[in-house]
Structures are given as structure tokens and as C-alpha cells.
């Protein structure tokens, strides 16, 4: 008796599931598959602008603007993409939380990104993310003037 009830429940579940799948396939078949805009941020380094040139710098004075330079490439160069900038005190570790976080829109045309924060003297690591993908990490030192 129990086995008969189980089979009936199973059949109902199977039919509902198949109908659900068919409905989903039918609804999605007309929609083009999502093509994500992939961002690559290679050769990441900290920099400053000197006479219209971006110069690599690894040590900054307190209060000085810190920029991140590198080759920013989007798979669709007409698009902009949101990336995340995180600053960690000292070295990053999975249990450490960032002290600064910002969402920044970037395009293939961008040469540098401003890390818009005030950092007191010390060693920091700056991490760039696109969603869960870590695009790059760079270390920076901030010294008192």
C-alpha cells in the first residue's frame, strides 16, 4: 500500500518536473545566450602622474593620491564595467577584512584608477576584483612626509 502511494507521488512529481523543464526551455529558447563582458587588468602597478606621464611608484606620502595603472582590456571595448577596489592593512589573508572598498566603473580607455582614500603610514595591499574574480594585487607603502 505504501509503495503504491510512493509511486503515485513520484509520478506526479515527475510530470510536474518535466512540464516545468519544457516550459523553461520553451521560454528561454528565444533569448540569446548571455555574453559577459570580460575584463582583464594586467601588469598592475601603483603610479602617479608626472607631466602627463604615468610613472610607477611603490611608496607614497601621506595624503598623496594613489593611482593604479596597468593594461585594462574589456572584451567589448564599447562597454564599461564595474570593478571593486579593496585596500587591506598589511598583507591580505582570507580572514582579514578590507579597510577601504569602492566600486569603480572602468573602460578600455582608462589608463589609471584613483584609490580614493586616505591612508596613514604603513604597508597596504590593494586588490582589484571583478565580481569574484581577483584581477590583481599590488603592494603599496605610505610614509609620513
Amino acid at each position: 500500500m505504501k509503495q503504491k502511494e510512493l509511486t503515485t507521488v513520484g509520478k506526479i512529481f515527475l510530470v510536474v518536473w518535466i512540464v516545468l523543464c519544457m516550459l523553461i526551455v520553451w521560454a528561454l529558447s528565444s533569448i540569446p545566450v548571455y555574453k559577459p563582458t570580460i575584463i582583464n587588468f594586467t601588469n598592475l602597478y601603483t603610479c602617479e602622474k608626472v607631466e602627463d606621464q604615468w610613472i610607477a611608484v611603490s611608496s607614497f606620502n601621506v595624503g598623496q593620491d594613489i593611482y593604479l595603472c596597468g593594461n585594462i582590456r574589456l572584451s567589448d571595448s564599447t562597454q564599461k564595467k564595474e570593478i571593486q577596489v579593496r585596500v587591506y592593512e598589511g598583507e591580505r589573508a582570507f580572514y582579514k577584512h578590507e579597510i577601504f572598498y569602492a566600486n569603480v566603473m572602468v573602460s578600455s580607455m582608462d589608463k589609471a584608477i584613483l584609490v580614493n582614500t586616505y591612508l596613514s603610514p604603513g604597508i597596504y595591499e590593494i586588490q582589484i576584483n571583478s565580481g569574484r574574480r581577483v584581477l590583481g594585487v599590488v603592494q603599496v607603502e605610505v610614509v609620513s612626509q
Partner: protein, 218 residues
């Protein structure tokens, strides 16, 4: 009137004045910290400010999938799951395909093929990220448990828990939104080779998610 100065000689500033100055200083510091917090310096934020700025936004939906496993008690298997997740804040539907592998420990199935469906809730998605496709795609660490009735065909209820990992393999964390993870409830059905009357087991494994469609709903 008592001016609060109790040190006698050499006391140039009354205690009342000192208290007032300290209060003003504290207010100025709090104001400065609030400004720093507003600019994204989260070490200056109060817990309430952090929650306001970056609290997890609601992302949830349904899933369907199929899985297969074999072995006797200690078993191995794989699954293919499709999630239909709605970002309720932005009004976008994300169709996510997830494929994974797992180890199973529980009552023996011999060989089990199963289809399942259920609900999924994603926690820890930062409220200020508009396009969350980059957060939903990626790898996960999975854990789940299942209980069911089994008479050659099994009907079971399962609870799943997946921790989102970044590309370096660390749990994905955002200050204010917390760790990103997914909880799921599923109802599954499928034939297996070893009937146990009651099926009971747990799974541990890993998976990878891919965004298949992003559909604006409103």
C-alpha cells in the same frame, strides 16, 4: 556655583569647561569619522552605517537539476543544476548553470539517478553592486544533507549549503554584506539500486557556476 575645579592651586580650566571641550572634540571626531565612512573608508563606519551601505540584497529563486552517484555507503557523484535567481532590487533574472562533483556518505544507494527541484536563496550579495553576474559565476564549496523514503525509487528532501569562493579559492567576503553563500531546499526523485526504506546521507563537494542568461524583468 561649583565650577568643577578640584585641584586647587594651578587649576586654570574648570572641569565643566573641560567636559564641554571633550564633548565638542568627540562630536568633531564622530563627524569626521562619518565623513570618512561616507567616502568608503569602512574602518570608520559604525556597524549600523556598514549595514546601511552594503547590506546584502535579496537574491532568490528556484532551481531544477539532475544528479547521479554510485558506490556503497561511501559514494561519489556529480550533478547539473539550473538556478533561476531574481535580483529583487534591480529586477533582473539570472539563469545560472552549475556543475559539480561530490562525495556521499550515508545509506547505500548502489547506483542512484535523480531529478530534483527546489528553492535557492543567495546571501551576502552587496547591495551596491548593480550587475551581480560576476558574483554569481565562479566556484563553490558545497555541503548538503538528505533524508528520504526509498523503495527502489527514492523520494527525498534535501538541504544544501554552498560557500562562494573567489578566484583564489577563499570564501568571498564583503564588509557590511558578509560572506556570500547559498542555501537551498530541494525535493528529489529517482530510482536506485539498493532499497533501504529510509535513505539518509550527506554530501561534500565542489562546483562551478556559469551565467547563461540575464533577463531584465522590470
Amino acid at each position: 556655583m561649583d565650577d568643577g575645579c578640584r585641584t586647587g592651586e594651578g587649576c586654570s580650566l574648570s572641569q565643566a569647561q573641560a567636559n564641554e571641550d571633550a564633548q565638542k572634540q568627540a562630536l568633531l571626531q564622530a563627524e569626521a569619522a562619518k565623513g570618512q565612512c561616507d567616502e568608503g573608508h569602512y574602518s570608520y563606519c559604525s556597524n549600523f552605517d556598514l549595514w546601511l551601505k552594503r547590506h546584502s540584497k535579496p537574491v532568490s529563486g528556484i532551481h531544477v537539476g539532475y544528479s547521479g552517484q554510485s558506490g556503497y555507503g561511501l559514494e561519489g557523484g556529480g550533478y547539473d543544476q539550473w538556478d533561476f535567481l531574481i535580483d529583487w532590487k534591480e529586477g533582473n533574472l539570472y539563469v545560472v548553470q552549475t556543475v559539480g562533483a561530490f562525495s556521499y556518505l550515508g545509506t547505500p544507494t548502489g547506483m542512484l539517478g535523480k531529478i530534483y527541484a527546489g528553492t535557492s536563496v543567495v546571501h551576502g550579495v552587496p547591495g551596491d553592486v548593480s550587475d551581480i553576474s560576476g558574483l554569481l559565476a565562479g566556484s563553490q564549496f558545497d555541503a548538503s544533507a538528505e533524508i528520504g523514503l526509498d523503495a527502489f525509487a527514492e523520494v527525498g528532501f534535501g538541504k544544501g549549503f554552498s560557500v562562494a569562493l573567489d578566484s583564489e579559492g577563499n570564501p568571498y567576503y564583503t564588509l557590511g554584506a558578509g560572506y556570500m553563500y547559498t542555501t537551498a531546499n530541494s525535493l528529489g526523485f529517482g530510482p536506485n539500486a539498493v532499497p533501504n526504506a529510509i535513505e539518509l546521507g550527506g554530501q561534500l563537494g565542489g562546483s562551478e557556476s556559469f551565467i547563461m542568461w540575464v533577463i531584465p524583468l522590470w
